[in-house]
């Protein structure tokens, strides 16, 4: 009984490690090639549009509402202590350090990550990837690489947009609705936000999340069992695994950046 359990655990662990190995090999295969700008640039541009620009709407709307909610919640607490002037830093720091990178990554996993997995999984199921290989075109370089770079480039930009819109949303609720002094909102924010400590760290976090989410999404699609059930499972796994990975890495990065 115990031996069986141990055996199952061992098998499960080996399968996981093999999966990680395949994911690493896939990523290296995609990135190791010398890029040919004539062919790579148009592909990258198209993917930046698909992955980045098409995710803008959900990022803008979510950023606005999260900023508004932050301001509303912050105001009710801060006003008890007569510290409404600190609403600006509260909204800005929450967004820059945590909510911007994390929520963007979670939304990105749901919006773009799942789409990447489904697209690549379906390409595999309909033999498009095999067909490409037989035409002597490496699918890792033609399909995976541009999508990977598009994800890595666009997510930090989306996180910055998310944060900026969130701060505006905070202004909308805090200043325009609840009557906090507008000058104080901005000046307290300027005084309390540090470029390296807050802005740069937020961008670094976002870049790490971009790498993780895009990598997981591409690998799950590339490794999907080429059936309708397999693709549906892979898509779900992309969202679940990358969301958990983002939250886990967020804790580690926060501990390293702000813990000491």
């Amino acid at each position: 009984m115990i031996v069986d359990k141990l055996q199952q655990l061992g098998q499960h662990s080996i399968a996981k490690i093999q999966g990680m190995g395949r994911a690493t090999i896939m990523l290296f295969g995609a990135l190791i090639a010398w890029p040919t700008p004539r062919k790579s640039f148009p592909l990258l541009l198209k993917q930046l549009y698909v992955v980045g620009v098409l995710s803008l709407l959900i990022i803008l709307v979510s950023g606005l509402f999260i900023g508004m909610v932050l301001a509303l919640q912050g105001y009710t607490v801060l006003s008890k202590f007569g510290a409404e002037q600190m609403l600006g830093p509260l909204v800005a720091l929450s967004l820059l350090r945590e909510l911007g990178p994390v929520v963007t990554a979670l939304l990105f996993a749901g919006r773009a990550g799942s789409a990447l997995t489904a697209e690549i999984g379906l390409m595999k199921a309909t033999e498009q990837l095999s067909g490409m290989e037989m035409m002597a075109v490496d699918p890792l370089r033609r399909i995976i690489a541009p999508r990977f770079w598009a994800g890595v480039i666009s997510m930090p930009l989306l996180a910055m947009i998310f944060t900026a819109v969130g701060i505006l949303g905070g202004h909308l609720v805090g200043v325009d609705w609840l009557g906090v002094d507008g000058g104080g909102y901005w000046s307290a924010m300027q005084a309390n936000v540090d470029f390296q400590q807050d802005i740069l760290n937020g961008v670094i976090k976002s870049a790490v999340f971009a790498l993780i989410v895009t990598w997981i999404a591409l690998h799950k699609g590339f490794d999907a069992v080429p059936t309708s059930e397999g693709i549906s499972q892979a898509t779900t796994q992309t969202v679940v695994t990358s969301s958990l990975a983002v939250l886990g890495f967020d804790f580690i990065l926060t501990a390293v950046m702000f813990g000491g």
């Binding site: 033999e127 037989m134 033609r142």
Partner: protein, 267 residues
């Protein structure tokens, strides 16, 4: 130059513990249409993937134009693949590109020809398969037969030496089947290709093949020209060619005795 373009020697391939091919050898003549027939599930598509280097055998050599495909490094394998083409059962058309762009894809990837010349080449290839008028359609707008013809145009875009057809007749209506049969033969003759057709559509294959291999039970069980095969002594070959439901390949899947099972239910 040798008459043999593809030479498979003592090929052994396993999937997990299951042996797919056991010490199998076959040769495909240059400029000829060679067919590989056999019951479903014996790994005919696998054989094409082995020739294309997408799978590696346990043992044996797969020589294509003198190069041992499984031994090639990645760079040489991709170079070797530029001389071969494969027509997948599904067509494997890129769904985000029009028919025109699909056919232009390999040309754009492997050459630096100006767009006008590419257009000329694409139109010629589409004309050869009768789809010049469908160039602006998306793959989803094509019927099954048209998709396969479009994929055929893409497969011959760079004038390969060798073209591998994976079940080209499966799921086709009689008219499109007739069109594809005619195309395989005429393209082979006109372009000087070497064609390998994997199929279990006996009549169609026998009508165009110069040489036929019948594969079953992990090896070649019969080979020869279509006429030679029709008088082949093997019962298994005859069962397959004549489509008999029972014979050396039993109608029933392996099971316990029928009467014993019925008696058990009656108890």
């Amino acid at each position: 130059m040798s008459d043999i373009l593809v030479d498979i020697q003592h090929l052994t391939f396993k999937r997990g513990d299951r042996v797919i091919y056991d010490d199998m050898s076959m040769q495909f003549q240059r400029g000829k249409v060679t067919a590989i027939m056999g019951p479903s599930g014996i790994g005919k598509t696998t054989l094409l993937r082995l020739i294309g280097g997408q799978l590696k055998p346990e043992q044996g050599k797969i020589l294509v134009d003198g190069q041992d495909i499984p031994q090639l490094n990645r760079k040489d394998l991709y170079k070797a693949r530029q001389k071969m083409s494969m027509l997948f059962q599904s067509g494997a058309m890129f769904s985000d590109m029009s028919v025109y762009d699909n056919v232009a894809f390999p040309i754009r990837e492997h050459t630096r020809l100006p767009e006008e010349l590419i257009r000329l080449m694409v139109l010629m290839k589409l004309e050869a398969v009768g789809l010049r008028g469908a160039r602006d359609l998306m793959p989803a707008e094509l019927s099954g037969g048209m998709a396969r013809r479009a994929a055929l145009a893409r497969a011959i875009a760079l004038d390969p030496q060798l073209i591998l057809y994976d079940e080209p007749f499966a799921g086709q209506d009689p008219i499109s089947m007739g069109v594809i049969v005619r195309l395989i033969r005429s393209l082979n003759n006109a372009l000087g290709l070497t064609s390998v057709v994997v199929s279990h559509d006996v009549n169609e294959v026998m009508s165009i093949a110069d040489y036929v291999y019948v594969v079953a039970e992990q090896k070649v069980i019969g080979q020869g020209t279509p006429d030679e095969l029709r008088s082949h002594p093997s019962a298994l070959v005859q069962q397959f060619l004549q489509g008999q439901s029972d014979g050396p390949v039993p109608f029933h899947f392996k099971a316990a005795s029928y009467s014993a099972e019925l008696m058990e239910l009656a108890k």
